[in-house]
């Protein structure tokens, strides 16, 4: 239980320097029906600038719901969401986009398949800026995109005008990742972005992720179903269960974690929670 207390107090620490503050965020799906589901339960979390947080937890723990709440896919039923000091709780999804880079589990979701690679990148490049009657894709843009793609060694720098729909899942995720970070976001949200890929491609996309995050010094929240990835990547790890954070570790302690430790925590937290349910 001490873990939970730690988190609650950490939410009160230095809000100014925080890239993200979730303050008592609650989300209930299908309220008042037999399908009622408390997906986020009074969830509080503070992420400081430059932190790379990996998120683990069982199926239905509320990980995606947390990311979607941050991104504004829906409004929370309670609590506050503050990104970089700005309270965005009431802002719609497209308005929050200027602070956020997002990559989804489904490679089809992050890119427009009927549009060219360069057109997708151009749209992402203008994230957070007003879109008017200026040309949607300039020569200068194209040069920049070619450079970026060449730099990340995806073999796509000469295929700028290929339709994204022709690319593989891994290539699409890589493009989505670049799209998410072309304009440096305040916060990068990755929701199991390698889960739909074969292991080899997943590894490549993960190392690309590390590279991009490191070079741009991005604050990142990455959900993964793979515990060793969660340990290997990032500098902080949180575990979720039943819509709340049950374990939060950073620094040396995180570096020394093993999958076995995590599995233990995992079991303990579910036991604790079921104990609590029995008592109440």
């Amino acid at each position: 239980m001490s873990d939970i207390n730690d988190i609650v107090s950490s939410a009160e620490v230095s809000r100014d320097a925080a890239a993200l503050v979730l303050d008592g965020v609650t989300k209930v799906f299908n309220p008042g029906t037999i399908n009622e589901k408390i997906a986020l339960s009074d969830l509080s979390l503070t992420i400081r600038d430059g932190e790379f947080v990996t998120v683990i937890g069982g199926n239905g723990a509320g990980k995606s719901t947390m990311l979607n709440a941050i991104a504004g896919v829906f409004k929370p039923d309670g609590g506050k969401i503050i990104i970089g000091g700005v309270d965005v709780t009431k802002r719609s999804e497209y308005k929050r986009a200027k602070y956020l880079g997002r990559v989804f589990q489904d490679p089809l979701l992050g890119t427009a398949s009927n549009m060219m690679i360069e057109e997708n990148l151009a749209i992402a490049y203008r994230r957070g800026k007003p879109r008017g009657l200026k040309w949607g894709l300039t020569k200068k843009d194209r040069e920049l995109f070619r450079e970026q793609l060449a730099y990340f060694d995806l073999g796509l720098e000469n295929r700028l005008s290929a339709k994204v729909g022709l690319l593989s899942g891994g290539q699409r995720q890589a493009i989505t990742l670049i799209m998410a970070t072309l304009n440096k976001p305040k916060l990068l949200l990755l929701d199991e972005h390698t889960a739909a890929l074969d292991p080899k491609t997943a590894k490549k996309v993960l190392s690309l992720t590390d590279k991009i995050v490191e070079e741009n010094n991005l604050t990142t929240l990455m959900i993964t179903h793979n515990m060793s990835d969660a340990i290997k990547h990032g500098n902080r790890l949180i575990m979720m269960n039943e819509g709340r954070i049950v374990y939060d570790v950073k620094g040396e302690e995180k570096k020394n974690l093993t999958v076995k430790d995590l599995l233990e925590k995992f079991e303990n937290s579910s036991i604790e929670l079921s104990d609590k349910m029995l008592l109440s």
Partner: protein, 319 residues
């Protein structure tokens, strides 16, 4: 046969008018991925507003601008129904269509109004087909070029992105609701413009002139798309293909008449043709696709892996 050949220039003129209408349909149906039934009403609204303005003494070019704006307003109403009130797009279009029927009747004052080219100075008329053809061709070219430019701008790109992937568009900060309303406005503005041209060409406006317009528009989009699909994917070519589709539609229409087909059945025939063409992609996917062989058609992973393989092949070929 002679009658058919004589009817060809007229068929081309009508095809160009409906081709313009089809360009409007293209914007919603192809670019924005919305089936918008407002057009059955807004094409008539264009004709009604144009005719009433013309009769009131407004010069034809200015009256056409009024028609365009009326269409834009119609699209706006459908857009608000759909985005702000959350009504499904098809139903939103039907509701506006019905509203427009009353509005058109009220504005026109009666079911049918003549605007003969002898009395009014109009820009096209079926009494002078050669000049009409030139004007229509010029008109189509200008509209297509303006749209080609527009869809290359930042705003135009966000319309294409929204039609392609709303999830991605919102994640990239595009207000997809606003974009849909904008697209519906633009589309119906162009459709109304084609209505203004149509009533000038035929010399009258009739309250029922938009009935089934969506089917003709879709037919033109589909036929045109099928004709140029192998030629070019260029957006300008795609837009102009709508006009080609419109022309083919009306030439075939004349041919069918020349062959003595019962004209009462023509709308049914159009609908059947459109139904067949619309079902082709589904048939291909369901009955002829490779994925089906994997017994796993629903599984995205499979499709993606297949995709990986084809890319791998493609890369090998390139090397």
């Amino acid at each position: 046969m002679l009658a058919f050949i004589n009817s060809l220039p007229g068929a081309v003129a009508q095809g160009l008018i409906w081709g313009l209408m089809a360009i409007g349909v293209y914007i919603t149906y192809k670019v924005l991925d919305i089936a918008d039934l407002t057009v059955d009403g807004s094409i008539c609204t264009g004709a009604v507003v144009f005719s009433v303005a013309l009769i009131a003494g407004v010069p034809a070019p200015v009256a056409m601008i009024f028609a365009f704006l009326a269409g834009v307003a119609a699209g706006f109403v459908t857009g608000i129904f759909h985005t702000l009130l959350g009504i499904p797009a098809i139903l939103s279009g039907i509701l506006t269509q019905l509203i427009l029927w009353s509005v058109n009747l009220k504005v026109l004052g009666k079911a049918n109004v003549a605007i003969p080219s002898r009395t009014f100075s109009v820009i096209i008329t079926q009494l002078n087909i050669p000049v009409s053809l030139l004007v229509l061709a010029g008109f189509t070219a200008v509209i297509a070029l303006v749209l080609y430019w527009f869809f290359g701008t930042e705003l135009g790109c966000s319309i294409r992105a929204t039609g392609n992937n709303q999830n991605m568009s919102r994640a990239q900060g595009i207000n997809t609701s606003f974009i849909k309303v904008l697209g519906l406005m633009l589309s119906n503005g162009i459709v109304a413009l084609s209505g203004a041209l149509l009533c000038q060409y035929q010399g009258f406006t009739d309250i029922n002139m938009g009935r089934g317009a969506i089917v003709i528009g879709l037919a033109a989009v589909i036929i045109g798309g099928a004709i140029v699909s192998k030629l070019s994917r260029n957006f300008l070519v795609q837009l102009l293909s709508c006009s080609i589709g419109g022309i083919v539609y009306y030439v075939v229409y004349q041919l069918v008449i020349a062959l003595g087909f019962d004209t009462d059945l023509l709308k049914m025939l159009s609908a059947v043709v459109v139904a067949v063409f619309l079902s082709i992609p589904y048939f291909k996917k369901t009955y002829f696709s490779k994925v089906k062989l994997n017994k796993n058609a629903e599984n995205d992973d499979v499709e993606l892996k297949e995709n990986d393989e084809t890319i791998a092949e493609e890369v090998k070929e390139n090397e």
